[in-house]
Amino acid sequence: MSDGSYLWDRTGERDPLVDVLVSKLASKRPVGRRRVDMTRWLAPLVSAAAVLLVVIPLGGAEHGATAVAPPDDTRSEPADGSAIVVSSPRGTTTTDVGGALNSVAGEMTDTPAAPADEVPSDTISQH
């Protein structure tokens, strides 16, 4: 009977059953790096970023401008979608979508943690 060393750190007397199980389960072993489906959990962030893109230009209204853009405003959107450029008589403002995403993500981390049974604290209970 093995003393358990082989099971612990592959030292000591070999346990054939451990080897057999490891080799049989190799077919089930998670391989490679499968990325998490970012679209599923980033979708709400992208929506929030879109809201920000609308809110940021309107924010200028608080500083004397009108909320409705002047008729000679020209707005262009680059094909790569990386930035929205707003040209107006007051100057040109560029809003970085990636930056907006990060800022929204930053706000998300400030939300209170979920209930204790769902999200753990730093301390791990031992089995």
Binding site: G4, L7, K24, L25, R29, V36, T109, A114, V119, I124
Partner: protein, 186 residues
């Protein structure tokens, strides 16, 4: 075992992820996903484990700002995976109380072999592991499925080396008896 350099790298990535950097989080996720998948597979079947991985990622991303000690990132993530797995099992139990498969249906499934089966009894082995007490399931899955050593399991899960060692030995003893009883192993 993780080197000091790896630990430093993880700490830096955690700090960036806490500030809302999604790509830092994705890198951390890549580094830890096989362990998390192993933990979930100790509770549920492969495809379901894959689905639950998404929940783990979402919860971790939402809560990483509350993680104070970057050195505890790996055990913290493992605990989220455990909680997600437990919640899924509890939901399944609740569903089983309301939806009962008829005896005939179950017999038919068994006769036609519609239960998915991997090569050379891998699924039967995983099923036997999932029937073990919870304390033994996880270390044994990480040892046998991911081929991690005990010290590696302790480091990744945050469990003490002593408890991993004991649970591996006791779990293996139970599994041995179960595999012989089920006739899975010769």
């Amino acid at each position: 075992m993780a080197s000091r350099r790896q630990r430093r790298r993880t700490r830096a990535l955690v700090r960036r992820a806490r500030r809302g950097n999604a790509s830092a989080f994705a890198t951390l996720w890549d580094d830890h996903s096989s362990t998390l998948r192993g933990i979930l597979m100790s509770m549920v079947h492969g495809q379901e484990a894959e689905d639950l991985m998404q929940d783990v990622a979402l919860r971790a991303w939402k809560a990483i700002g509350a993680l104070e000690d970057a050195d505890r990132f790996s055990p913290w993530l493992c605990t989220i995976a455990r909680n997600v797995g437990r919640n899924a099992l509890a939901a399944k139990r609740r569903a089983a109380e309301t939806i009962a498969i008829s005896v005939d249906e179950a017999a038919e499934m068994a006769a036609t072999g519609s239960t998915p089966n991997g090569p050379e009894g891998a699924d039967e082995i995983m099923n036997c592991i999932r029937e073990l007490p919870e304390a033994y399931r996880e270390p044994l899955t990480l040892r046998l499925l991911l081929d991690l050593t005990g010290p590696e399991i302790a480091e990744r899960t945050g469990l003490t080396p002593g408890s991993v060692r004991v649970n591996l030995c006791r779990g293996m003893k139970l599994l041995r008896g179960q595999l012989e009883g089920e006739g899975v192993m010769p």
